[in-house]
Amino acid sequence: MPPEEPHRIELRLDKLLADRGMTLAELARRVGVTPVNLSVLKNGHARAIRFTTLTKLCEVLDCGPGDLLALSGDAPATDA
């Protein structure tokens, strides 16, 4: 496998989960991915995210992709 280039995309799952009082296991069950995979995603070890997974995450957490993804160093997206 070719060496991976570093990226600055981070997933703000921690904050969204805390805001909604949801656990990672519950989110994984409702989204339909394994807790291990969701943990990989949360810790920034994932290589890519499927649009289907992103859609389900947004549906379950009732948020937009901009609330979930951010360029590290950026301020979190806020509702207008």
Binding site: V33, V40, L41, A46, R47, A48, I49, T53
Partner: protein, 214 residues
Amino acid sequence: MIKLRDMRRLREPLDTTGNRLIALALAACFGWAVISGAAGIIHSLGVNSLCTDTAGLLSLGGGGYVEGVGKEGVRVTTEGYTLCQEEVSTAQSLADAGLDLPTFLFMTVALVLLARLLWTAADPGPYAARVPGRLRTLGWFVLIAGPLSDLIEKYCEAFLRQSMLAADEPYQVWFQGWTQDFPFVYVFTGLGVLFLSRLLRIDVRMGEDMERTI
């Protein structure tokens, strides 16, 4: 250390010789289908006389020609198993072409779908995301178009018979004939291919998961 060439071979298990053999086999099949199908259809449309099988509906006994069974100008020959007519109408010519055309179209499209699948499996590779989708298309096509082409052929056969027989043939006769000789081979092949595509889809997803795509 794995060389670039070895990595490419891992990704593309069909080597150049394999690709060439597949291309040759496909080209031969495609050529055969086009030539034989087109020849049959052109022959059907160009003839002035044609004969059709009575599918065992008539068993008159004796040889030679029998009067009164067929419409005017129709000869019932060889112990009542074959109906022949000299002056053929356009509808009869089309029905005669319909005996070969559905299978010809089915085989041609199936070969195109198979070729498309094999090219994708050769490059970018059998575990590419597009391969299960193409396999599924082929499976659904074989499952639906196979029995359908057989049904159309049976209908054309019945139409030809009816156009030559004096007595009316109830539609149940040809439909029952189709159900009795139902081409289960297409159904089982189609279902098998669909099942395979499902397995391959799971495989591709597992491969993506292993590459940490969530």
